[in-house]
Symmetry: C2
Subunit: 139 residues, 2 copies
DNA sequence: GTTCATGCAAATCGTTTGCACAATG
DNA sequence: CATTGTGCAAACGATTTGCATGAAC
């Protein structure tokens, strides 16, 4: 959700920065899915007065450029559900509406999806993202 | 993540409260997956000086009682990923580690999982939750 | 030299918590 | 009456933003 920083919706002509370069390099060097804070701690050794603002701004730019992705799910706030039985969700990317799906979760549904050996799967979630009927009609 | 409020890990002997009753009723009356804030706005008409603290505390209790569930995904902070190609994740419920899964996302994997008609699916996510190898070994 | 990126600090947002008082069992 | 639940306000943690200065192009 980082705002474009230019007038007419044109593509932003980003300049290079040592900080952003390092952030990308660091992220590419690990598969541990770091947090912003991890990056901050790591980079503070190279840039003693690095600020969190810079880290977050650069993450936003890198995401916008498609060079990295955020593992975030929908909104930042919790949605509640009185339907306790496990079920899957459809999330509308336009209006944010969440709809329950009919299929009952079942291990068989996962088919050949399995974790590395030694891992124990207790539950799973599936989310479909796209446009709900309302938003498909009125784009 | 609401803390039990009693000594020896015994089950908490919750008392009843008008506010909590209404929260549950309201949640059961809709399938729109409300937010805490929606509940607050709604209930303020009945309880003019309801507080957010009360809403959140009761949500916590209801979740603990298994009467409702939170549609929240893993941690509250974003995890980053330089692997841009879509892929599924395994999340360890004990240590929070996130691991990439091997299978390449593919519509076929969804099998008979489909949204209501009129909906357009653009992408999907699958997350497995459980214990990673490390945590399985050392519980 | 114009514009973007940075550091700093303050602000924002959803959520949590400490406290004194009211309500429950 | 022993505790839990409430309202209030302050605290919290992750993230965002306004502003003056420094770096890219």
């Amino acid at each position: 959700m980082s705002a474009p920083r230019q007038k007419h919706g044109k593509k932003a002509p980003y300049r290079r920065s040592r900080q952003r370069d390092r952030i990308l390099t660091l992220l590419r060097s690990t598969d541990s899915h770091p947090t912003a804070n991890w990056l901050y701690a790591r980079l503070r050794k190279e840039f003693p007065d690095l600020s969190m603002g810079t880290v977050y701004r650069n993450i936003g730019i890198l995401v916008e450029q498609g060079l990295i992705s955020r593992i975030a799910f929908g909104s930042t706030f919790d949605r509640l559900d009185a339907k306790v039985a496990p079920h899957y969700h459809f999330i509308c990317e336009q209006c944010g509406a969440i709809h329950d799906l009919d299929v009952a979760p079942n291990k068989d549904i996962l088919g050949r999806i399995s974790p590395p050996k030694g891992f124990e799967v207790r539950r799973h979630e599936i989310e479909l993202y796209g446009l709900c009927a309302k938003c498909t009609a009125r784009p």
